[in-house]
Symmetry: C2
Subunit: 279 residues, 2 copies
């Protein structure tokens, strides 16, 4: 059952915020959907946007500057939350921002106590698209996915594992090699345990190295991003793609940081790139 | 002395947030400025944007979706705060949102205790433009002004009192007749006292009726705005302009509300309208 929290007219379409009880996470989940005006009975392609650490659906919904382009291009834009939330959902032991609430890393956790609710992979791969297909005028033959930072990691790994589902994938400043960086090591150990073999299906570099392929990938990365040299390392993905023959475009954006000022600047570009591939 | 709180690259320009000690208000004041990339030595036209009740500079800076259009059109965008703030600044007696902090109404208060700090008219009319002229690559021969709700009231009244300064004025869902509506009556009585003759220079309808003129005015108003029928009454301004021969365009926007979803939708339109008049 889908509960409507709000619908607001914007940029020639409807920006909605919704809540439902997720069977994947066992919690209420909120997400936002923008639907451009369209002819009755029409079905529009769908772009999923996965957010980064600390975010909810609200960050991109308020600051992402996607509606004008979505309206012009006829794209539905879906923005889920980044983790389960609510009573009984375990958080980071010290309440850190990079694990637990707001930091689900788009995995199915196998370690207690996180394995009960932290099933964001199932949520994004199975439950949310089924709900979108049932409740919105979406053409599920034309889906694509993008994300920012931790959400870029989510978009890349989900697309690489499900190449038949997505016609396009792109990312803003993604975590491309979680196995090799502090954010990823903490999260994957916490959610999946210490056996690193289990981490590889949640690592874009490892997936490409292990044979996963999509038609092409676009990444924008700001050169003044505080996390560039410790957490992001887009050159690792560039190398993995080059070695594997995976088509890949990396655009280093001079002077841009990790914030929504950066994302909003290149959002329309990405949506145009998606629209071409969504047909 | 201008203190830089932050500068961030965005949409091919620089989004800055600044603080200074205002002589007009006797308090620290924060404002944001977006400066598009430009040739060295170039001076760009300036758009002042005045925000509504409860806002700071941050609302439009984060949600206004003005940067792309400003960059394309070569416009500097300045967003001041809506009131003085800080220790010793008196607020509404009951802490209501519609008077005191976040609700300066762009007047010079004459009633104690507000007369000491609530001098937003002097701040916007005198001090801020001098600071912008001194510190930014601004062509002060090409200024315009816009605003939302209480800030639309500010933009209209300031432009009507200073027709030589501004080449364009527009507003989103402005308070056009504060003398006649609850928000305005509370604010003007509180800041100016009960003599309604003193209110007329802060009422767009009264100013036009009393002879003030600008070349033309653009207003967008959502039909689903919760405040339309109690506080905004754009038809009062339409009637005043028609009677006075003041050129005026009112666009009723079907289904839009009072929020930044509405503002961001029509922001680029307004900036294009300003750019034509700024030359």
């Amino acid at each position: 059952m889908l509960e409507t929290i709000s619908t607001t007219r914007a940029h020639g379409g409807t920006q909605g915020v919704y809540r439902h009880t997720s069977t994947a996470t066992g919690t209420p989940m909120e997400f936002s959907v923008f639907v451009p005006d369209h002819e009755e009975g029409a079905r529009l392609p769908v772009v999923f946007y996965l957010s980064g650490l600390t975010c909810t659906q609200a960050n991109v919904t308020e600051k992402g500057e996607f509606r004008r382009a979505c309206s012009e291009l006829g794209l539905i834009f879906v923005a889920p939350d980044t983790s389960p939330r609510g009573e009984g959902v375990p958080d980071d032991a010290e309440g850190a921002y990079d694990f637990g609430l707001g930091a689900g890393f788009y995995v199915n956790a196998t370690e207690a106590p996180f394995d009960k609710h932290y099933r964001m992979r199932d949520y994004i791969e199975e439950e949310l698209p089924a709900l979108i297909a049932a409740e919105f005028p979406a053409d599920m033959q034309r889906q694509s996915i993008m994300g920012h930072s931790m959400g870029g990691h989510g978009a890349l790994t989900i697309a690489l594992r499900n190449p038949e589902r997505f016609k396009a994938v792109s990312a803003f400043a993604p975590i491309v090699a979680p196995i090799d960086v502090p954010w990823g090591q903490k999260a994957l150990a916490g959610y999946l345990g210490e056996d690193r073999a289990a981490w590889r299906e949640y690592d874009a570099c490892a997936l490409v190295t292990d044979g996963a392929r999509v038609p092409d990938i676009l990444i924008d990365q700001g050169t003044d991003d505080n996390f560039l040299h410790d957490q992001l390392h887009p050159h690792l993905f560039e190398e993995a793609c080059a070695q594997a023959g995976q088509p890949f475009t990396l655009r280093m954006q001079e002077g841009y940081d990790h914030s929504y000022y950066f994302i909003s600047t290149f959002m329309a570009d990405h949506l145009e790139w998606h629209a071409v591939r969504l047909g």
